[in-house]
């Protein structure tokens, strides 16, 4: 008995000693914070977080590979404590939430069921997993079974529905889903995501340059969740009030309903949601990721600059905007007229963006008041330049500098700045066929010009301006002079413009762009009388800042005076300078500038995080998924599109009041019911039924 006790004592002591020596000898230094963090984790070693036990999770937090909210079990207090250890701001520690983008589509019949399969994983192993489309949900609920927190349930329609409140973001479902469909993402991940070939995307969303999740926001409007719709749009587009008014909606051209019927009025619905927020009198909160402490300078406060600033701020960077004009907004303030986008509305929208904590320094022109080197000196680690295209092209004919002659952008921006121009009772003509030209004529008629003409080289069908704009101008009594090429401007003795001489043209062979080239008709010189002449035949960016300040020699510029960049990443030939909008693409659209701003923000985020700046693999940039483009859409019954109310032409030419009115709630609901809730190949022709 005594020996036994003694023996056990000795062997116990021996083991203890050996181990304690070993722990000294084999000691590996560990960040003491790992132990502190581990203290706050649940200690269950459940693996719910995706790491192999609590200590691995704690180590990941300390290495910055996992957020303070890593522990799936411990709850919010633990997150706060962990964030405390790490010196992070717990309030904004980003929660991760699971999202299932597929609602199953039309998979009523269980095709493979009798082959004996009952898990998604098995389905993929045996049949490659194809159910309806390449990427869609299989509906066997592997994710439902794997979730330890009952945050996913099989919905009545047979696809998993996620309870965002119960979801702790552990990522188990993402790992279980063999179709790589369910993604557990933080807000930043979602803001940084751009369309991929493998994503479940409706044709409209594939087309939208800003990649807005259109079917989702329309479905939210249908369910009366207008706030949700605003949030969905804001995940991709911070200028929803402006876009809702001025966007020529390329998405509607690809609307699947449009194949059989009139397209869904997507943009009107966006405007409805945006106006709902503004008219509700309160701003919906916009979340931002924890501060990263990195500083980015944005030169140019137009749509591209505002969009980049907004996304960078939401990703946690601090942003300063430098703007040449007294106010932000760029062309949508100084180009697009009041009657299309009221300044009050624009101010409200821009204020909301600046409220995120973005500094704006106005009256600061790059190349005049400061240069790139100054921004570098001030400590900005990345620089974003989106100064738009503000230099009007010249007609290159004699006399175009006479008194009474204007350039399109110059005219519009002076008007927008509140300058009084004496137009009343005068005869005016505008040369050009784009949006600026139309905006000029519609402004002129409102300013009381007696007669307003638009002079264009080709015919109406070749006009690059938006169709709705041309129609509106026609209704407002503008005189269209087609197939006319100005040859000289004639003035009187005082140097005032009096006449415009042009050559008549006829359409010849199609040129490279597929449009029939206008050729002059010999001896057809014609003169028209006028007092005001505006040239609005296109613009290009002003790259003069390149010659000011050192280090700009490496900046590559195209022959159209735009930045030479990769169209996806928008990184210029100087690695820490990025761009977007008209300065990158030449004159384009607001949505294009917004989408570009977001892509540039993504690239800047990669750059600041020390990653390689590159497009994701299988990016769907500017392309469509073949299987989503249909020639026929069976089952769709025609339903008329909700018409928006407009101010009658007689009334609207008298003032600058907004012409287009927002849809009423009833009209918006009816319109949202026309949407087929499309995905890659699925659609639901009976949504409304």
């Amino acid at each position: 008995m005594i020996e036994a006790l003694l023996f056990m004592l000795i062997i116990g002591a021996l083991c203890g000693t050996v181990l304690s020596f070993a722990s000294k000898i084999f000691y590996v230094w560990e960040d003491p914070r790992i132990a502190q963090v581990e203290n706050y984790l649940a200690g269950a070693n459940c693996g719910g977080c995706g790491f192999t036990g609590c200590s691995a999770a704690a180590a990941a937090v300390v290495e910055g590979k996992a957020p303070p909210s890593v522990c799936a079990v411990a709850g919010p207090e633990a997150t706060t404590s962990v964030a405390g250890v790490m010196g992070m701001d717990p309030g904004s520690a980003e929660p991760r939430v699971s999202m299932n983008p597929c609602d199953g589509g039309d998979r009523a019949e269980d095709r493979f069921y009798y082959n004996g399969v009952n898990t998604c994983e098995a389905m993929v192993a045996m049949f490659g997993g194809k159910r309806v489309c390449q990427v869609g949900c299989l509906g066997y609920g592997d994710c439902v079974r794997i979730c330890s927190f009952s945050a996913i349930k099989m919905g009545p329609e047979g696809y998993p529905v996620i309870d965002e409140v119960a979801c702790v973001g552990c990522g188990a479902c993402q790992r279980a889903c063999p179709k790589d469909l369910i993604h557990v993402r933080t807000m930043s991940d979602r803001l940084l995501h751009t369309n991929l070939e493998t994503d479940p995307l409706a044709p409209c969303q594939q087309t939208c340059p800003a990649e807005i999740d259109i079917p989702t926001y329309i479905a939210q409007i249908r369910e009366g969740d207008y706030e949700g719709a605003v949030h969905t749009i804001r995940e991709r587009n911070p200028l929803l009030l402006s876009c809702g008014r001025v966007c020529p909606h390329p998405c509607e051209d690809y609307c699947r309903r449009g194949v059989e019927d009139e397209a869904v009025s997507i943009n009107q619905l966006k405007r409805f949601a945006a106006d709902f927020e503004m008219n509700s009198g309160k701003r919906l909160p916009i979340a931002c990721a924890p501060d990263t402490g990195k500083r980015v300078a944005v030169a140019g406060g137009g749509p591209a600059g505002l969009s980049a600033a907004y996304f960078l701020r939401r990703l946690g960077h601090s942003v300063t905007i430098f703007e040449a004009m007294p106010k932000l907004g760029g062309m949508i303030r100084y180009g697009i007229p009041e009657y299309r986008l009221p300044k009050k509305t624009l101010d409200w929208e821009i204020e909301g963006i600046l409220n995120l904590g973005i500094e704006a320094r106005t009256n600061m022109r790059l190349g005049r008041d400061f240069n790139v080197a100054d921004m570098e000196k001030e400590g900005f680690e990345a620089i974003f330049i989106a100064h738009g295209a503000w230099v009007d092209y010249n007609l290159k004919v004699e006399g175009e500098d006479l008194k009474g002659c204007f350039k399109g952008i110059d005219f519009l921006s002076r008007l927008a700045s509140g300058e009084e121009l004496d137009i009343k009772g005068k005869k005016a003509a505008v040369v050009g066929g784009g949006n600026s030209a139309i905006d000029c004529v519609r402004n002129l008629i409102r300013l009381g010009a007696e007669e307003v003409s638009i002079v264009y080289r080709r015919t109406r069908s070749e006009m690059p301006a938006n169709e709705v704009e041309i129609e509106a101008a026609e209704h407002e009594g503008i005189n269209f002079v087609f197939l006319a090429a100005p040859t000289q401007v004639i003035g009187d003795a005082d140097g005032n413009v009096k006449q415009l001489e042009y050559l008549k043209m006829e359409l010849g062979e199609p040129d490279a762009s597929g449009r029939r080239r206008p050729v002059p008709v010999e001896g057809s010189e014609t003169r028209m009388d006028l007092d005001i002449l505006i040239t609005a035949i296109g613009q290009q960016p002003d790259m003069s800042f390149k010659n000011m300040g050192p280090g700009m020699a490496d900046l590559k510029i195209t022959r159209w005076n735009t930045f030479d960049t990769d169209p996806y990443t928008l990184q210029t030939s100087i690695p820490h300078i990025f761009t977007a909008g008209d300065a990158a693409t030449g004159p384009s659209l607001v949505v294009e500038a917004i989408g570009g701003g977001r892509r540039a923000a993504r690239s800047i985020h990669q750059f600041l995080s020390g990653e390689e700046v590159k497009a994701p693999e299988s990016s769907l940039f500017k392309r469509h998924i073949d299987e989503s483009i249909f020639k026929q859409v069976p089952g769709v019954e025609k339903k008329p599109r909700s018409k928006m109310t407009e101010l009658p032409p007689e009334e609207r030419v008298k003032s600058f009041e907004e012409v287009d009115k927002v849809l009423t709630e009833e009209e918006a609901l009816a319109e949202s019911n026309r949407c087929l809730s499309c995905c890659r190949v699925c659609y639901n022709p009976d949504v409304a039924a």
Binding site: E3, F7, V18, S23, T52, G116, V117, T119
Partner: protein, 191 residues
Amino acid sequence: MGDYLVLAISAILVNNILLAQYLGNCPFLGTSKKMETAVGMAAAVVFVLVMAGLITWIVNTFVLQTLGLDYLRTIAFILVIASLVQFVEMFLKKSIPALYAGLGIFLPLITTNCAVMGVCLINVNEEYTFIQALVSSFAYAVGFGLALILFAGVRERVLLGRVPRPLQDTSIALVTAGIISLAFFAFKGMV
């Protein structure tokens, strides 16, 4: 040499620790859902079992038997094996971090694994020599790995089958284990 071969075959197949002796059932079910984890676990078991087999043999032969304390064998082995695994874990972490990263999670699981304990006791009960104990420990561990990996393969296949709800997961795994075990009984007459 022939004897060792017989010993090895008997340990790997005929007296397979999982399928014929039914030891170590918890890792058998717990780590066999995925091939990847099964392989990791198998490697860790080989590693630990060989060392534990040898150490316990030494402890038994030179300490317990000389002192006539054979009746303390079980408790002494538990202590020794647990300390050993802890020690190995520390050693690996410091000296061979790559191996630690691969086996790290499985090591603590083995601390209290009855398969390891079982093999150590078998070695002693059968009165093996040191070399025999070495071969036997290694062979039993290989047998463990073999059974585990086979089983993981089968379980991945079972996922493809249409299993009635009450039988899903662990239940069907146990039934399957039983059938595989029956198959292993065919080796019975071999040695």
